[in-house]
């Protein structure tokens, strides 16, 4: 694989140190890797898209990056001071009998670390929550019981929580699963605005790429299934990602010819800026060592 040239990075990306780095990170359960180890850098202002079908390991990768499950090998290194993270799950993650208003859920976004030691929310926190609800167009139902909202409304509340969090890195797991196409498009447009305005890094895990790909500047395709290997699904996915990544909304086609890319031939494809090549070298070096059953 030969990288082509760099894409125009999002603001802050070229000048700031990465928020977090996955170093030879292999993810899985009980010592068994679901994916080969690879490096990935999450820079300020970057938009990383993790794509794959259900059961391919993308959510496991996300949980490992979030620190919810330990890596099989390698590590996730956070910048110092630790960046603020926020996580947007699928709406179903909250208990169906939880008696909270949408506003309460959004207000949780303001709590980081030990800030809860302040027993009452500061005025600034309340203002930020109101503003986030307005921006997510969730004001109208913010005072209704969260459990009685529709899937799309719940997702808007979770978006408001994300906006209120003022985080450095936003991680979203199938964030638009309950949205129609127009809402989905709008949600990704907002995410793109956030990263451009505040230099926030965005990581989206999804199995559908149609709406989000134009905004991504770093793509990770994961699918090690037998079927994907047999059908060359990873290659097809990579081709699709490459095609879309070559036409980003904010890129000048003449000065920024396109992204670098890497095929593992084992169901993992990375597409992104040239610095990803470093990751590819690691990838190749560690691939055989980390996967217990070896590459297919």
């Amino acid at each position: 694989m030969t990288p082509r040239t760099s894409r125009q990075p999002a603001p802050g990306r070229a000048t700031s140190a990465p928020h977090l780095s996955c170093e030879c990170l292999a993810v899985g359960y009980k010592g068994h890797s679901l994916l080969p180890a690879f490096d990935l850098t999450i820079a300020p202002g970057s938009f990383t898209l993790v794509v794959g079908r259900n059961g391919t390991g993308k959510s496991t990768w996300l949980k490992t990056v979030l620190g919810l499950i330990p890596p099989v090998s390698g590590r996730v290194r956070m910048a110092e001071p630790r960046p603020r993270l926020t996580y947007v799950p699928q709406a179903a993650a909250l208990d169906a009998i939880l008696p909270v208003r949408g506003r309460d859920v959004a207000a949780w976004g303001r709590l980081h670390g030990w800030q809860f030691l302040r027993p009452l929310a500061a005025r600034a926190d309340r203002v930020a929550t109101d503003s986030a609800l307005a921006e997510a167009e969730a004001e109208a139902f913010a005072d209704q019981a969260f459990r009685e909202l529709s899937g799309g409304q719940k997702q808007r509340i979770l978006f408001a929580r994300m906006l209120a969090s003022d985080a450095d890195v936003i991680l979203l797991d199938e964030p638009t699963a309950s949205m129609d196409q127009a809402s989905e498009r709008e949600a990704y447009r907002r995410l793109d605005n956030i990263r451009h305005k505040g230099g926030t890094a965005v990581i989206v895990v999804t199995h559908t790429i149609s709406q989000v790909t134009p905004y991504a500047d770093q793509l990770l395709f994961v699918d090690r299934t037998e079927r994907a290997r047999r059908d060359g699904e990873a290659d097809k996915g990579a081709a699709q990602l490459r095609k879309q990544a070559e036409k980003p909304a904010d890129r000048d086609a003449e000065t920024s010819p396109g992204p670098a890319e890497f095929h593992s031939d084992h169901g993992v494809v990375l597409v992104g800026p040239p610095d990803i090549v470093c990751a590819h070298r690691h990838f190749q070096r560690h691939f055989h060592e980390v996967l217990p059953d070896g590459p297919a």
Binding site: P99, G109, L111
Partner: protein, 321 residues
């Protein structure tokens, strides 16, 4: 430190002590009157205050217990409190080591709580398995140890079923002190405790110390259940630490703070009201408090049905277009 053999009513036959009425009036099976209750207020004040405080704090905690699906945790912890009291008596009588029963109750309650903090999956077990084992172990062991303490049979009965009529000043002060500290702590850490309890994944991602908050919650439940079980009995402590939360959740759908306030109020009503009801009707105290908590739950269910019916009414009566 008070010795178990100094415990209240230890020398009296159990049957004469299971209703507050028996301390004031003749055993005529007719119950007492409000006038008699007021006349004996000096005697009943501490147990009523104790039931009020325990009901309030356990009612507040019951929201966490219900929403975190920890009802059986509460059952195991209250059983543990019973075992702790039995072990304290056994230690004093047979080993000559004087241990205050309330401390025994708190110690075993906390031990059970900490056991439940451990991740059972690391042993290849589910949380339900651990709960079942803890419940069976503490319940069985309390009865076994109790069978070896004939001198304190009434206290064992009191701790398991809540038949104690009066509360010693020491037990009352312990309930008041533990309740006060726990409420101050919970009001202070409320935002963190609720976020970490009800959306632990997001809380962990946002850097909240979820393990610390979970442990603090379990410790506060263990301590409050322990001191309440010694003062009121295990059965009413279990009822007060679960049923008010269920009732409040039936009434309130969206305001978390309101749910906590209503649960604490209902717990108070069940604790103090159950005691008064036991006096007026000449019934065992602990069972009356438990039944009062159940009655409140049933009433809440009725209120819920009424609210649903009232909500439906406008749409059903509206003319079809």
């Amino acid at each position: 430190m008070a010795q178990p053999d100094q415990a209240q009513h230890a020398s009296e036959p159990p049957d004469s002590l299971d209703s507050p009425h028996h301390d004031m009036v003749a055993l005529d099976g007719q119950g007492g009157t409000w006038e008699e209750f007021i006349a004996g207020w000096e005697l009943f004040r501490d147990p009523v205050y104790c039931a009020t405080i325990a009901g309030f704090v356990l009612g507040f905690l019951s929201v966490y217990i219900v929403l975190k699906r920890m009802v059986f945790v509460s059952a195991a912890v209250t059983q543990g409190a019973g075992l702790g009291v039995a072990l304290a008596f056994y230690s004093s009588i047979h080993l000559g080591i004087g241990i205050e029963p309330a401390y025994g109750a708190v110690a075993v309650s906390l031990a059970v709580s900490f056991m439940l903090v451990l991740d059972p999956q690391s042993f290849g077990l589910s949380r339900e398995t651990m709960l079942g084992a803890a419940f069976a172990l503490t319940g069985g062991a309390a009865v076994l140890v109790g069978s070896r303490i004939t001198q304190e049979a009434h206290d064992i009965q009191a701790i398991l079923f809540g038949t104690a009529v009066l509360v010693s000043p020491e037990d009352f002060y312990r309930v008041a002190a533990a309740g006060g500290v726990i409420m101050v702590f919970h009001l202070w850490w409320f935002r963190g405790l609720t976020f970490a309890s009800f959306d632990p994944v997001a809380a962990r991602v946002q850097g909240l110390p979820v393990g610390v908050l979970d442990s603090a919650l379990l410790i506060s439940i263990g301590v409050m259940v322990g001191v309440s079980a010694r003062a009121l009995g295990a059965l009413p402590s279990f009822a007060l630490s679960t049923l008010p939360g269920m009732a409040a959740l039936l009434i309130v759908r969206a305001h978390l703070w309101t749910v906590f306030v209503i649960a604490a109020t209902l717990g108070t009503l069940a604790g103090a009201g159950g005691y008064v009801f036991a006096f007026l009707e000449d019934l065992p105290v602990g069972s009356s408090q438990t039944v009062a908590a159940v009655a409140i739950l049933v009433a809440a269910l009725a209120v819920r049905q009424l609210i649903l019916r009232l909500k439906k009414q406008p749409s059903t009566s509206a003319p079809a277009d």
